[in-house]
Amino acid sequence: MDIILRILNVVFSGVTIALTVLMLLLYFKERRIQPRSLLLSAGLSLIMLFFFILLTGARLNIMIATALFIFGAAFGVLRAFFVKLYYRDKQVLGKYSLLSLLGWGCSYALAILLNSFDSALLASLGLAPLLLATGTQIALNGTLFLRRIMMQAPTSQAV
């Protein structure tokens, strides 16, 4: 039974990688940036991390976890300022950071994979990049949300 579950875990890891690639394809083009979507993304990232830790029982030293999260968040804020937001056709468009999305998806795949080795240490090590990437995602989306709601509509929309 354990072997089956471990195999299943590896399969889920592969599925996560595939979904990440799919997500990259979806987010490859510029798209409409909506405040609601940004909040949803940030919230979902947080919820996923919370439930992942809750379900797997993997633990990471709180100091290390906090440091990683803050470091990731700092990177996310920095990255968010390099995302170009602009008006076109009365809509705010922009292109998401594919690198952070890729890192986030891969960190999940890695964490899932390391959880299958029956080692608390490996499980904890799997959480480290996940916390980093989740911090980045939340800060990135949060900062984009703030930028988006503070954006002023162009005075002339004729062209």
């Binding site: 039974m1 354990d2 990440t20 009365k90 899932i112 080692s119 904890s124 002339s156 004729a158 062209v159």
Partner: protein, 602 residues
């Protein structure tokens, strides 16, 4: 404001999508939470008990750890298994479960217990009592590596205990004390949650994108492709209602449609076809009005115009079959044609009125209302009401005390009756509604046939249709053309004429207000003739945007018109019996020349 309303007006389907999306996510979370309780929690809720000789150690990977490991000469490996030092053979015995319920330790139940470690070729104590006396763990550490180097071993495989010690330390630092590795079930649950949420997210996002595209396509069909007023960057496309009528017997009817559409080209009366934020706002007012009492929109013109404030604003839609209401830029256009406001008046302006101007505006002048005007496009409308917000008031204007202004930033609503001119159909075709005099005053500048929509044919409410008479077969009857207007052959209706017509309509002094380069105070618009960006004053921008839309519509309709004519001509060239069976009728169709001549009349 208009944009917001525009979005709100589309809100129903978006809300549906949103609710659907949230339900998916909430449902997924509930399922996962339930699976957590069913699958994972029972394992966690158990308080594992170990068989005699073993103790529960959460720090270990195996759960039940042998108590007397050091006493029997062994040590704990990285997973807290009790093993023998390198070079020693392990002597084990099965764990006695005769007096212990295996359910209490579950997956953590050990199957063997280390009894001693022996150096080969020695045998296990049960056979020969030769066991190296190892008294304590500290001695073991020294014996198996610590004593030789004093440092951590270079290779974890060389010596077990120092490696074990290091891993434990690292594990405690990283994982924290009392951390357990995820059980396979929990790991799978976490993985399922992650992939499930991620997959849902992607699916919802993908569906949303698809629905957005589908909605745009649907709206394109519904709105006739009309785009918002300010959206000039994207070329406008017109929905073609006649495209799905390939049958030959409908060609004549299509031709009538097109001809009627051509008569509407550039017409300021086609407010129904214009989709602007203001228009949507107007539609909302109209909807509200339709729910209320009609009497609310009948202010008395014997009194001052601010009475209009007390009335429910109306506009944008047909209030009855023979009446339509203009507001915003459309109203200003008509006011301009009425000579009440100067060129370039925009919705942000306030126009000062003297007594004469005020009287003219509110209908107190001898002309009063209804007032019939003919727009440069040739359309005739009868203005029955003009409502607006007057600053000051009639009395002040007469007394010359306070400035009296019309505030165009507030709704200016003009109610007008449409005098629709419908050209006569070709031979063998006649409109259902014949030249019936309207109950309201209808001006006939020529001997053209008018269609009185108030009698039997309500104006269509669809935004992408044009008002056309129904066509029915009328064998044996020929309608002759008795119009003495200037006839313009079809092939001469070229772009220059259209441009000139539009320029006449809009009365834009191109030389004075157009610049090819950005200048302070000018805003960019698109010149529909060249599709290049030009710069005009802010006041003139609405006119240019309107000009752009109408130009595009006109060119599109013109092309369709030519196509229909070509199709008609092709039909005419067919053998006579084919033609007779068509909707064009039979009796008057003698030859292709006559028919072509009839077509040219249009």
């Amino acid at each position: 404001m208009g944009t917001r309303l525009f979005r709100n007006s589309r809100g129903h389907s978006q809300w549906g999508n949103r609710i659907q999306r949230y339900f998916i996510i909430i449902g997924l979370l509930i399922v996962l939470a339930a699976s957590y309780w069913w699958l994972v929690n029972p394992v966690q809720a158990q308080s594992p008990k170990c068989p005699p000789g073993f103790v529960w150690d959460r720090l270990s990977a195996i759960g039940c750890v042998q108590e007397d490991c050091f006493d029997v000469g062994g040590y704990y490996d990285g997973t807290n298994h009790c093993i023998c030092p390198k070079g020693y053979d392990m002597c084990t015995e099965p764990v006695d479960y005769s007096s212990f319920d295996v359910e209490q330790c579950g997956p953590f139940c050990p199957d063997k217990v280390l009894t001693s470690c022996v150096l080969p070729p020695e045998r296990c104590p049960s056979e020969i009592e030769v066991v190296p006396p190892v008294k304590s763990g500290g001695a073991g550490v020294e014996d198996f590596g610590g004593e030789e180097s004093g440092d951590f071993p270079s290779s974890p495989g060389d010596v077990g205990l120092p490696t074990n010690f290091t891993l434990r330390q690292i594990e405690e630092i990283i994982s924290g004390p009392e951390s357990l590795p995820p059980t396979p079930a929990r790991a799978v649950a976490g993985a399922a949650l992650t992939t499930g949420l991620l997959g849902t997210w992607i699916l919802v996002d993908w569906l949303r994108q698809r629905s957005t595209v589908a909605k745009e396509i649907t709206d394109f069909g519904k709105d006739g492709g009309a785009i918002e007023q300010a959206n000039l960057a994207k070329p406008e496309t017109i929905f073609e209602s006649g495209e799905n009528q390939p049958e030959e017997d409908q060609v004549a009817a299509s031709a009538i449609d097109m001809i009627t559409s051509m008569s509407d080209m550039g017409s300021l009366l086609n407010a129904e076809k214009i989709s602007t934020p203001e228009k949507n706002e107007t539609d909302r007012w109209a909807d509200e009005f339709m729910k209320g009492s009609p009497t609310e929109i009948r202010p008395s013109y014997d009194e001052d115009i601010p009475q209009a404030k007390a009335s429910t604003p109306i506009g944008g839609q047909f209030m009855n079959p023979e009446q339509r209401v203009f507001d915003g830029d459309d109203a200003i256009i008509i006011l301009k044609e009425l000579g009440m406001v100067p060129l370039g008046t925009s919705r942000t302006d306030k126009i000062s009125l003297d007594e004469t101007g005020l009287d003219s505006f509110i209908g107190a002048s001898p002309d009063g209302y209804p007032r019939q005007i003919t727009l440069p496009s040739g359309k005739t409308i009868i203005v029955t009401k003009v409502e607006g917000i007057l600053i000051g008031g009639k009395d002040d204007a007469i007394a010359g005390q306070n400035p009296t202004e019309i505030d165009f930033s507030k709704p200016v609503v003009i109610t007008a009756e449409l005098v629709e001119q419908v050209p006569k159909p070709p031979s063998g075709v006649q409109p259902t509604q014949t030249a019936t005099p309207s109950s309201k005053p209808v001006h006939d500048q020529s001997t053209e046939t008018f269609v009185d929509y108030s009698e039997s044919a309500p104006m269509p409410e669809s935004q992408n249709t044009v008002e056309t008479p129904q066509v029915e077969e009328s064998p044996g009857k020929t309608l002759s053309r008795d119009v003495d207007q200037e006839q313009v052959p079809v092939d001469e209706v070229d772009q220059a004429d259209i441009d000139q017509d539009l320029e006449d309509i809009f009365r834009i002094d191109m030389d004075n207000i157009v610049s090819n380069k950005p200048k302070k105070g000018l805003v960019p618009v698109i010149d529909p003739k060249t599709d290049e960006v030009i710069y005009v004053t802010e006041n003139d921008r609405p006119w240019w945007e309107y000009y752009y839309r109408e130009h595009k519509k006109m060119m599109k309709l013109h092309k369709e018109y030519l196509k229909i004519i070509e199709e008609l001509e092709r039909l005419m060239r067919k053998p006579q019996h084919d033609v007779k069976s068509s909707s064009l009728g039979e009796a008057d169709i003698i030859g292709g020349d006559e028919i072509s001549s009839a077509i040219d009349d249009f």
